[in-house]
Symmetry: C2
């Protein structure tokens, strides 16, 4: 038995990016409005066809660069393959979708056809792009609970109050600042910078500033008792 007996017609492979950022208090996704058919005037994820000389990671970074300054993208990971036979009209295309994050203090210049759309009230989306956005949102929400991925949403330095707003926007419900600080500190994810933020117009005590201890994604709460003493933790 070989693996070449089930011939199938060739197809195209495309890569798509769900680029998420917390902006103006809500979780948003970078979409562009299609000028031409198919699905003219609907909103699409950035991306396009995989070239002969690149892998999917190289391809998504190249294609993202047409929409946004990729140096401002803090995290890129494969999300899932979308492969329903009829997901796009015309020749069959299988898509590798990525989850990408931009920290909240970045404000990249965008092309005219492109905008940050709220994930909770998306405009009309093209093809299966709406489903891809929701999958990306769900992956982000899950990873906020068991990894340090918050580093990729936050600016380099922040108050607990600001971080609470970011987590609340991404998770879709109000998080307690006290609990957030306790959990992240206990896991060793946060460290104080020693500095304080200027008091707001309301005055009051200046708030302590923090940063994430690490900006490489890691699972942050594996069964501690199951870990060997000095072994690396992986995804």
């Amino acid at each position: 038995m070989t693996d070449a007996t089930t011939a199938a017609p060739p197809l195209v492979h495309e890569v798509l990016a769900a680029v998420l950022q917390v902006r103006q208090g809500s979780l948003r996704v970078l979409l562009w409005e299609r000028a031409m058919e198919p699905h003219a005037h609907r909103w699409s994820l950035p991306g396009g066809r995989l070239r002969a000389d690149e892998d999917v990671e190289t391809s998504i970074r190249r294609q993202l660069a047409e929409k946004v300054d990729v140096r401002q993208v803090s995290h890129v990971e494969q999300l899932a393959v979308f492969s329903a036979p009829d997901r796009v009209p015309g020749p069959r295309a299988v898509a590798t979708a990525f989850l990408c994050l931009v920290p909240s203090h970045m404000d990249p210049e965008l092309p005219e056809d492109t905008a940050w759309q709220p994930v909770s009230t998306l405009p009309d989306t093209a093809f299966d792009h709406g489903a891809i956005v929701l999958r990306a949102r769900n992956r982000l929400r899950a990873k906020l609970s068991y990894t340090n991925i918050g580093f990729a949403l936050a600016p380099p330095v922040f108050t607990i109050s600001a971080l609470r707003s970011l987590y609340s926007a991404a998770l879709g419900y109000r998080v307690s600042a006290t609990n957030l600080q306790r959990v992240l500190s206990r896991r060793g994810l946060l460290e104080p910078t020693g500095g304080t933020a200027r008091p707001g117009r309301a005055g009051g005590r200046p708030a302590a500033q923090f940063r994430f201890a690490d900006s490489t994604m890691a699972v942050t709460d594996p069964f501690a008792v199951l870990k060997p003493p000095a072994q690396e933790r992986g995804r």
Copy 2:
């Protein structure tokens, strides 16, 4: 700007399964020995080309069925896309790889060319299949720490001692039975069946039997304090 400006030659899409099981005290993967070139006599993952009328999940289940009774597969999830331009000789093929698990008490009939090979000492593997196996192993190890995925490796009913052996084999180091029971119980993953196992030849007290409370994968330790009271947790 449209997403059709970067034309690329068509390619084939294949699906591959890294089917893992704990057998004879070690983590093993289902591989078949190639009879023909390319890479004759090297060991391959089950899989093959995506057909025109199926998505990748449908395809991997169909192709797995040629090697193993798929009713004995307890868990299937997308692992990653492997897309290096030169990953296979001949026409370009992009692969969607899956992580699949078979519980330890199953002993599926296998075709003659197929065997359970130890992940820690793989035979010569074809193409990038060795790298895919290691990625699958790493995903399993990570998920053992933050999900209930142990249900997919274990038989329906087991003693803590037996479960400890499974976790130890999958993780690659010796886990403490006491700690394992404490952590899994605290998270509500384990429940006693009320029954006991027959004592072994050494005699002694009969051991209590347990089962997993759930056999649908879930993240089992999100930041509890960040969760809304009654919201579903998902990946």
